[in-house]
Amino acid sequence: MSKGFNYRPFVVLAVLLAGWHWALGLHHVESDTLAPPGKVVAELGRLILDGTVLVAARQTLLATLLGLAAGSFLGTLIGLISGLAQPVALAIRGPVEVLRPLPAIALVPLMTITFGLGLAMEVYVIIFAVIWPCIILTQSAVRAVDPRLLEVADVLELSWLARVWKIVLPSVRPRLIVMLRFVGAIALLIAVTVELVSNPWGLGHQMMIAEEGFHPDRMLAYLVVITLMGWCLNWAFVALERHAFTPRLNAN
């Protein structure tokens, strides 16, 4: 069964698409809520050709990447410091445990009042969503560093910065990259959700507009684009992981 081409998922997909088409397209119903797959593809092509989807996708991607970069940088920094210094870890544990479970999206109204609508507000919400998992994952990655390596750093009398740069960071790098993939998905989710809920910007907003304007084909086309974007982002981080892990495998 493992040999040969696995055609089964394509059969399942074909059945799903055919069922969707049959349910909507066969009777030539004019629906305000759903559209058959053919129409969605046609609308998607139109949106790509006239460029609206590209503009919206760029806006969403920009917010996602900015928020991801700032949030994961701050989170990793705090995680590194608290992972290496036990008192800091103890001091921040309570606040982290209180703030971490707070759904970032609930901050949208507050951020809107503080920063107004637009890119900045979206980026701040993403930072809030991304920073907590980064702190926790970096902390546990730093704690998993081989104690002997830290002893080496002690023996060499390395400064704190050199210790982090030369010993800790290289040994936590693989786990940080895995972490990046995990929080990357969160960042995109939050970006799209902020746009859906209120921010007039990006793919989520376009999708909501399409739904409210009774353009089911357009709405589903945007859903396809958002899914593709999530898929691409995931794929990019998997590629990064492979790239980061191969030298190690070769060295062994």
Binding site: N6, D32, R93, G94, A106, L110, L196, M207, L223, T227
Partner: protein
């Protein structure tokens, strides 16, 4: 036990310090009141809200919606995951299809769900189930695929039926994965309940936060955020506790 008490004391102290800093900032008027109300104002808003019962009702709706969604998606996730886990044909045909849907941000389904079901509680439940099922489902599939091969051989040697294999060998073996997945599902359920609640505007903490911000009732907004943080923290610690208790036999 002593470590537990010590940890609790440190956490209380650090959170207390945070509140004191918050109080200091508002008392010194470093930040305009519009952005950051004082802790006392938030406490007042919380207590009046609970005494009059409105806040209790909103919290109740949010918690019930979260638990209902979480329960449904855990159940569906474990059942579907078991089917995919034991039935090779299902794994080969559905596995890759699930991989296509998994990176889809759950909130992106909301407009589609609104178009089909309207701004209703059913819509909210469906969005929660669709979005929060993944951790439970994938954890179950993973737990099933990670069964020790010798256990499978034991099952084959004893000629147990597929149902008995799932019930007696596979599920107990996959429990740690499943519980970890269910914990993640709970987090996502709360997030999605809040989001759908913000959009539909039905009674709940999501709409409370939106309404409070539209009327510039910052104390009310912070009260809503505090309650959401407490709900998230309590549900997470309950599940963490349950995890430790259920898996205590493994240590």
């Amino acid at each position: 036990m002593r470590d537990l008490i010590k940890g609790f004391a440190i956490n209380t102290l650090s959170i207390g310090a945070l509140i004191v800093i918050w109080y200091g900032i508002t008392a010194a008027r470093l930040v305009p009141r519009v952005f950051l109300p004082s802790p006392a104002a938030v406490w007042h808003s919380l207590s009046t809200g609970f005494v009059s019962g409105t806040l209790l009702e909103q919290t109740g709706h949010t918690v019930i919606a979260m638990l209902a969604g979480w329960f449904l998606c855990s159940l569906l996730g474990v059942v579907l995951g078991s089917i995919i886990g034991v039935w090779p044909l299902a794994r080969l045909s559905l596995g890759p299809v699930l991989e296509i849907f998994r990176p889809m941000p759950p909130a992106a389904v909301i407009p589609v769900a609104i178009a089909i079901f309207g701004l209703s509680r059913e819509m909210s439940l469906i969005v929660v189930v669709f979005g929060a099922i993944w951790p439970a489902l994938l954890a179950t599939v993973h737990g099933f695929s990670a069964i020790e091969p010798r256990l499978k051989e034991v099952g084959a040697a004893l000629e147990v039926s597929p149902q008995a294999f799932v019930w007696k060998i596979a599920l107990p073996n996959a429990t740690p994965d499943i519980i970890a997945g269910m914990r993640l599902s709970m987090v996502i359920s709360l997030v999605l309940v809040v989001i759908t609640n913000m959009i539909t505007g039905q009674v709940g903490l999501g709409s409370l936060v939106v309404l409070a911000s539209r009327t510039f009732d910052m104390a009310g907004l912070y009260a809503g955020l505090c309650l959401l943080a407490v709900i998230g923290m309590v549900s997470n610690s309950v599940l963490q506790f349950a995890e430790r208790w259920l898996l205590s036999y493994r240590q």
